[in-house]
Each structure stands twice: as structure tokens, then as C-alpha cells.
């Protein structure tokens, strides 16, 4: 094999390895890209934040039921439940849902809750005005906390949607 060919082969290999590396980076970049895409389009139950100044005209003719689902991720030592099973509200009306969370361990816990809406397509229409899930929650050993969420359903929500599940999942980020 001539040295000229060897040089050419080495160059080809180098270029192709760069390509391999770039594709690996692309796979990693898909994670944030996917989140951004979901947030922009509101698909998949992800929501944009800060609706504090938002007001709607209340549509008294319609009633939507919000159901509350609470979950605690596998290794999080919290007991977490919603104080009400569901709230019936008119689109445009502002409601407050209450939750109770208790630290079941004798350690200090930092936990964060993640919101999610089902069906996912409704996520863009349920406005989370004020939520304890916007910030990290600190639990002293054994502490019980009463938490609140303020919600509003946009009157633009299509007529067919009568029940929406609002899920919150706590997970431990103490480290």
C-alpha cells in the first residue's frame, strides 16, 4: 500500500470519526431540544410558566372538572396527597387546589414537584398561575407542609374536553 493511499485513508477515517462524534452529540442534544419543542408547542403535557397577569372572561355556560393526581417518585421519602379529589370550575375562573406533603424521613429533604396534564393536548389551555412546583421545597425532618396551586382553564379550550387530570409528582433532589 503506497504512503499516498495511507494518507488518504487516514484522512477519510478522521472525517468519518468526526461525523460519528457529531451524531453522538446530536443524540445528546435531542434531550434539551425535545423539551424546548414541547414547551413551545405545549404538547406532551408540558406548560409554560408565569401566567400571573392573565385574566379571562368567565364562561358560565361550561363546566370543566379538574382531577388531582399525586405521585411520589421511587426513592423520595414523602407522603403527598391532594386535599380534594376534583374541582369543578368554569373556563376563565381562578381556583385554588390544596395539597398536603409530609416528610416521612428523619432527614432534611429538598424536593421538587413536576406538573403534567392529561390529555396532553389540554396542557396549553390550563394555566398554572401560582404553583409550589415552580420552586424547590425544603422539608425539615418530619415536617408537614400545606401547599397550594392556583389554576385557570382558558375559555379557548375545545368544547369536547370535560375532564382534565392535573398530575404532580414529587421527586427528591437533595443530593
Amino acid at each position: 500500500m503506497s504512503t499516498d493511499l495511507e494518507r488518504k485513508n487516514k484522512k477519510t477515517v478522521r472525517i468519518l470519526l468526526v461525523l460519528v462524534f457529531l451524531m453522538f452529540l446530536f443524540a445528546a442534544a435531542l434531550i434539551p431540544l425535545y423539551d424546548i419543542l414541547c414547551e413551545i408547542t405545549g404538547i406532551n403535557g408540558k406548560t409554560k410558566k408565569d401566567f400571573s397577569s392573565l385574566t379571562y372572561e368567565v364562561d358560565l355556560d361550561r363546566v370543566v372538572t379538574l382531577e388531582f393526581v399525586t405521585t411520589v417518585s421511587a426513592q423520595t421519602g414523602l407522603a403527598f396527597k391532594a386535599d380534594q379529589y376534583e374541582i369543578k370550575l368554569h373556563p376563565g375562573e381562578k381556583v385554588t387546589a390544596r395539597y398536603t406533603a409530609k416528610n416521612r424521613t428523619n432527614k432534611r429533604l429538598i424536593a421538587k414537584a413536576n406538573p403534567s396534564f392529561t390529555p396532553g393536548i389540554t396542557a396549553g389551555y390550563v394555566k398554572n398561575i401560582e404553583c409550589f412546583c415552580f420552586s424547590n421545597q425544603i422539608f425539615e425532618p418530619g415536617e408537614t407542609k400545606h401547599l397550594e396551586v392556583q389554576l385557570m382553564v382558558s375559555p379557548d379550550l375545545a368544547i369536547g374536553f370535560k375532564r382534565i387530570s392535573f398530575g404532580l409528582t414529587f421527586f427528591d433532589i437533595t443530593h
Binding site: 504512503t3 493511499l5 477519510t12 477515517v13 435531542l30 414541547c38 417518585s73 426513592q75
Partner: protein, 537 residues
């Protein structure tokens, strides 16, 4: 190697044959030896994966649980798929690539012979590691070849082994792909311009780029599975802010091009065989090249048609539906070209041609069901049913596998210098062609009637067609033993008839390897050929 004098070169030509003894097969860097290794390994894995398929079909012969536990059944569907994809079909095409690409472009060997050896043994290591999971606590992975979370994260001790084996197989494929690209770009004979390359070389060039683009993505996805399971990340865990649907997107970004990795070289071999037995030049050579490139490009932008039912926005469904249907255009060009090549040709029907014609017909059938499933509103009925199973098996078994058989019969006389037994070859073909339809055609009916995939038991109304399908499976499976017998017999001397250099009438006008002596010497094209065949473009 770098500074060879003319004399030295001369010596090498006469004295340097293969190494003696068993070690030859371990340390070899000869593209023909490595091609042989790949092909035998693929054939062995074809029977391992086939045995798993027969376990599945035996369990499904009747409703109710007969032979295996549901968990093991699901392991079988997963392992059957992984072994067939990564252990049989892909290595078989790499085997053909190793044997043929250097000879077809007039090169003495692959560009990177030592890496070539390494990628083969890494493949063996990867497949062995995958196979070892069958004996682990909790059993082999049982969540389909797609390895979807969260189900796959419930795998027992096997999970990290399965993931590392995917890494090994990925590295092996990437190295093989780099080698093929370097060979094709840098080692062609002087007159062999890109648009004069045989179509098999072209399809492999494009396939190699697909592999380089997708294997790192798949490696990334399974690595995230690994960290989700063992390092408390939440890439695909909704509770931690991740999303299991994201895995499906990443997987199918890899998965859709991956199925084309198995079909593009199939197209290449079909485009090589059909003109020879039609005794005509391939119809529309350049349109074949562009169609292959178009299919490869489209494969990257259609992935979510595998997930129409996950709850996509309407605009997404529409986009992926139309994009997917576009693929039918370049594929239709190919089918048209093969048919036009045969049109008014002086056709003869030796075994390789029979398999190739069956491929054209049955692949088209698999393509049509693909078009049906591309329709987003209708796909909701087909999703996760046996209709899907029927579809992709039609595009893989009577397509890729048939063409691998065709290629085997086609080049075996060239490689060994002996003729295979034509009568047995034809019997093998007819048994395969009939039984493959008994096996997979009823699965269309089952799927349309609503039988779900990946279940060990089913409602009684599905009994009859399942029984028919299982009978077909056993006939097909055992017919393939004939292939082994024919191959071994051919290597040992075949029919005794010595084959000519071009083996098939006029083949030397189509591609360079037929200008070499039969059997092919251990070293070929130490100096690049002066002239190249002109028939195929």
C-alpha cells in the same frame, strides 16, 4: 507494507497464501477470509434466531399456554429480533461487502484490513454477550427489539449486558462502515468513476453513511437507559421530568434508517443478479443510484410513523404520513427498473434468479402493506397487531433473506470454483417461496382481525390462521437446512463440474469479479485492472 519493491511484490504473488492452520481465521486481515467469517457467522446466527422463531411459532400453534412462560416468550421475540437484525442479516451483508467490494472496484483489499478483523471479532463478542443474557437471573430482555422504557428498565441482571452488547455491535458496525467508505472512496481502479461502480457498491456506500449517522444515536439512547436504571437520571422517567416518548423518538430516528440498512444492500444484490440472468444491462442505472440516495435521505425524516398512536398533534401525524408515502416513489422507481430490466430479456431461471424474482414480487407486497400503514388514521387499527409483523417480515424474509440466498448461490461458484447442485437449489427455492407465504400471509388476516403482537396466548377466533402460519414456519425453517447442505457440498467439490471464470454467461460484462479466475485467488488486483466492464451503466 508501505515500501514494496517490484521484486517483493512478485514474490508475494506466488508464495503468500493464507496462513496455515486454524489461527488463519483468527488473525486474518484478508478481505475474502473476513467475508467468509462474516457469512458463516451470519448463517449460524440465522439458525439461532430461526430456532427462537420456531419456539414462538410452536407456542402460538394453539391458543393457551403450551411450552414456555410468557416472560420467556417475550424474551424470545426480543432475542429473535436482535439476533436476526444484528447477528444475521447485517453481518451477512457485511460479509458480501467484504468479499465483493474490493473485487468489484478493482482493489487488492479493504482500505483498513486490521480494523476489518477487529470489527468482525467485536461483532462476535457483542452477539455472544447478548446471547449470554438468556442464562441470567431475570432472563433475557423481554421488551421487544425496540427496548422501550419503562418496560425495559424492569429487565433483571441482563440489562447492562444487553446495553453493552448493543455498544459493541454499534462500534463494530461503525468500524465496518468507515472501512467500506474508505475503500470505495480511495481504492477504486483508475477508470472506476463513482457513476461506473456496480450498484451493490453504490448501495453499500450509502448504507455505510446511514450506519455512521444512526449507530451513535442508538448508542446514546441505550446509554441513557443505562444511566436511568443505575445512575438516577430521568431521561425517560416521567416522574423525574423525563419522557418515555422521547426514547421512542430517538429509537426510531435510529430504527427507521436501520431497517433500510438491511434493505439497501438487498437492492444492490438484486440489481446485480437480475441483469445477468436477463442478459441485458440494468435498466436506469443512474436512476437506481439516485433512488437509493433518495430512500436513504427520506429514512431520516419519517421516523414518527412508528408512533402514530402516542398522541401526536394532528400536524405531526399529517407530516409523517405524507413524508412516509413519499418513500413509495423512489422504491417504485426501483421496482420499475428491475421489471424493465427483465422486459424482453433472454431470461433463464437459475436459483439466484428465482430468488431475485421472488424478491421483486414479495418485497412489493411488503411495500404495499407499508403504504397502508403509512396512512395515519388507518394505522390506529394496525398498530401493534400481527399486520405489522406480516409487513416487516415480508420486507425482511422474502426480501433481504431471499436476496442473501440468491447472492450465496450467485457467487458461491466464483468463490469456490465449484458449481452448486442446481436441482437442489431449485428445490430449496420452491420450498422457501411457498412456505414463506404460508408462514407470513395469514398473519395479515390475524392482524386485521385484531390479534396483538408479542403475546404468547390469544383468543380462540385466531386459532386457524395461527396454526397455518406455524406449519409454514416449520416447513420454512427446516427447508433452510438444505441451504447449509448445498453450501457445504459446493465447498467440498459441488457437482464436480468445473466452472468457467465468468461462471454465468456474459457475467464478465457486468462486473469485475467475473474477470478473475475461479476459484478466486487469495490475492486479487494487486495492480488495478486496466479496463472495467461497461455493461451495467
Amino acid at each position: 507494507m508501505s515500501a514494496v519493491t517490484a521484486e517483493h511484490d512478485h514474490d508475494e504473488h506466488h508464495d503468500h497464501g493464507p496462513e496455515k492452520g486454524f489461527l488463519r481465521w483468527i488473525v486474518t486481515t484478508n478481505h475474502k477470509d473476513i467475508g467468509t467469517l462474516y457469512l458463516f457467522f451470519a448463517l449460524a446466527m440465522f439458525f439461532v434466531g430461526g430456532t427462537m422463531a420456531l419456539i414462538i411459532r410452536a407456542e402460538l400453534f394453539e391458543p393457551g399456554m403450551q411450552f414456555v412462560t410468557p416472560q420467556f416468550f417475550n424474551s424470545m421475540t426480543t432475542m429473535h429480533a436482535l439476533v436476526m437484525v444484528f447477528g444475521a442479516v447485517m453481518p451477512a451483508f457485511v460479509g458480501f461487502a467484504n468479499w465483493l467490494i474490493p473485487m468489484m472496484i478493482g482493489a487488492p483489499d479493504m482500505a483498513l484490513p486490521r480494523m476489518n478483523n477487529m470489527s468482525f471479532w467485536m461483532l462476535v463478542a457483542g452477539v455472544m454477550m447478548l446471547a449470554s443474557t438468556l442464562f441470567m437471573e431475570g432472563g433475557a430482555p423481554a421488551s421487544g427489539w425496540t427496548l422501550y422504557p419503562p418496560l425495559v428498565l424492569q429487565t433483571g441482571a441482563a440489562l447492562p449486558f444487553a446495553i453493552f452488547s448493543v455498544h459493541l455491535l454499534g462500534i463494530s458496525s461503525i468500524m465496518g462502515a468507515i472501512n467500506i467508505i474508505a475503500t470505495i472512496f480511495n481504492m477504486r481502479a483508475p477508470k472506476m468513476t463513482l457513476m461506473k461502480m456496480p450498484l451493490f457498491v453504490w448501495t453499500w456506500l450509502i448504507t455505510a453513511f446511514l450506519l455512521i449517522a444512526i449507530m451513535p444515536v442508538f448508542a446514546g439512547a441505550v446509554t441513557m437507559l443505562l444511566t436511568d436504571r443505575f445512575f438516577d437520571t430521568s431521561f425517560f422517567d416521567a416522574a423525574g421530568g423525563g419522557d418515555p416518548v422521547l426514547y421512542q423518538h430517538i429509537f426510531w430516528f435510529f430504527g427507521h434508517p436501520e431497517v433500510y440498512v438491511m434493505i439497501l444492500p438487498t437492492f444492490g444484490i438484486a440489481s446485480t443478479i437480475i441483469p445477468v440472468f436477463a442478459r441485458k444491462a440494468l435498466f436506469g442505472y443512474s436512476s437506481m443510484v439516485y433512488a437509493t440516495a433518495a430512500i436513504a435521505f427520506l429514512s431520516f425524516i419519517v421516523w414518527a410513523h412508528h408512533m402514530f398512536t402516542v398522541g401526536m398533534p394532528l400536524s405531526g401525524e399529517l407530516y409523517f404520513m405524507y413524508a412516509t408515502m413519499l418513500i413509495a416513489i423512489p422504491t417504485g422507481v426501483k421496482i420499475f427498473n428491475w421489471t424493465a430490466t427483465m422486459w424482453r430479456g433472454s431470461m433463464t431461471f437459475e436459483t439466484p434468479m428465482l430468488f431475485s424474482i421472488a424478491f421483486v414480487v414479495l418485497f412489493t407486497l411488503g411495500g404495499f402493506t407499508g403504504l397502508m400503514m403509512a396512512l395515519a388514521p388507518i394505522d390506529f387499527q394496525y398498530h401493534d397487531t400481527y399486520f405489522i409483523v406480516a409487513h416487516f417480515h415480508y420486507t425482511l424474509v422474502p426480501a433481504s433473506v431471499f436476496i442473501l440466498m440468491a447472492g450465496g448461490y450467485f457467487w458461491l461458484p466464483k468463490w469456490t470454483g465449484n458449481m452448486y447442485d442446481e436441482r437442489l437449489g431449485q428445490l430449496h427455492f420452491w420450498l422457501s417461496a411457498v412456505s414463506v407465504n404460508i408462514l407470513f400471509f395469514p398473519q395479515h388476516f390475524l392482524g386485521l382481525a385484531g390479534m396483538p403482537r408479542r403475546i404468547p396466548d390469544y383468543a380462540v377466533q385466531f386459532s386457524d390462521w395461527n396454526m397455518v402460519s406455524s406449519i409454514g414456519a416449520f416447513i420454512f425453517g427446516f427447508s433452510q437446512l438444505m441451504f447449509v447442505y448445498i453450501v457445504v457440498k459446493t465447498i467440498k467439490g459441488g457437482t464436480g463440474e468445473k466452472v468457467t471464470d465468468e461462471v454465468w454467461e456474459g457475467a464478465a460484462q457486468h462486473s469485475l469479479e467475473w474477470t478473475l479466475p475461479s476459484p478466486v485467488p487469495y490475492h486479487t488486483f494487486a495492480t488495478p485492472p486496466e479496463n472495467i466492464p461497461t455493461e451495467h451503466y
